[in-house]
Amino acid sequence: MSYTKAIKHPIVLSSSELRTEQILILQRIFPLDENNFNKLIKNSAGYKDWAQNIFLMSVGWAFKLASALIAFLIAYHAAEANEKVPIDIEFWEVISVGLALFICLVLYILGRYIKSDRDKLIASIESHFQNL
């Protein structure tokens, strides 16, 4: 091949000359097969799911305790001196709420360290997009 000239300087262009308007590749994509899709929609979040369910249950119990406490306070303020006002809260109910919150905390901590297949898949998707 015969060369017309040897060039030792770069070709300098404006951005409008160099760049085209249309870029066809715009999206980062994660290839999700059927197996992984099923993991995402059908599998639970494991321990964290249990922790959330028990937490909601204990919140329900705590509402019952709170309403009993409010009823007691209203009755207490309305009562005459030396009048006994009963409180409609059983000891085991308080223990139940405390125990449920404790179990919830334990399950949450377990959930942070023991990953379900769904958690692992979500982590791998995150890592895929971060590393691209």
């Binding site: 040897a6 770069p10 070709i11 085209t20 249309q22 870029i23 066809l24 590749i25 994509i29």
Partner: protein, 159 residues
């Protein structure tokens, strides 16, 4: 737009060809094809099989399209023909695009030959075939470019 800085980590294993025939021109010791204000969209590195990296950009981030001759996005296919010593890159499933091949290279000889390039789909007005290289509005044929960091750069970039 031209002053934007793109976050891009270039591969450490990249080593440019000392000599390559590129669409009817010869590049000697050319490091990068395009320097878009620090963003390098295309790399052809030396290797038993040529090592390609192609990037595009989204907002201020570089998006890897091809990494070390492996297609990262499913819309891209990299074919390596060991017998013919050829490598090609093409789009798949892109509606309305007739010519889907964006790169082809023959590495059977000591000096590899780029026989096709079309970077328009990834955002650059650079395309060519075996005989001629089009960059912007200019056509290049039979030229030798040597000892350059980049063949093409933006006018506000210092080399």
């Amino acid at each position: 737009m031209s002053n934007e800085v793109i976050n891009q980590l270039l591969p450490q294993e990249y080593k440019q060809y000392q000599n390559i025939t590129f669409c009817g021109n010869t590049f000697k010791n050319l490091k990068y094809l395009i320097d878009d204000n620090g963003f390098i969209p295309f790399l052809i590195g030396m290797g038993d099989i040529p090592r390609l990296w192609i990037y595009t950009k989204k907002e201020l981030n570089a998006v890897v399209v091809v990494q070390d001759s492996v297609a990262i996005l499913p819309v891209i296919r990299v074919d390596i023909y060991n017998n013919e010593k050829k490598i090609s890159v093409e789009f798949t499933q892109v509606p309305g695009v007739a010519n889907t091949k964006i790169f082809e290279m023959d590495f059977s000889a000591e000096i590899p030959v780029v026989t096709l390039i079309d970077l328009r789909p990834v955002g650059y007005n650079v395309f060519g075939d075996t005989t001629i290289l089009n960059i912007g509005e200019q056509k290049y044929q039979g030229n030798m470019f040597e000892n350059l960091i980049s063949l093409v750069k933006l006018e506000n970039v210092t080399n």
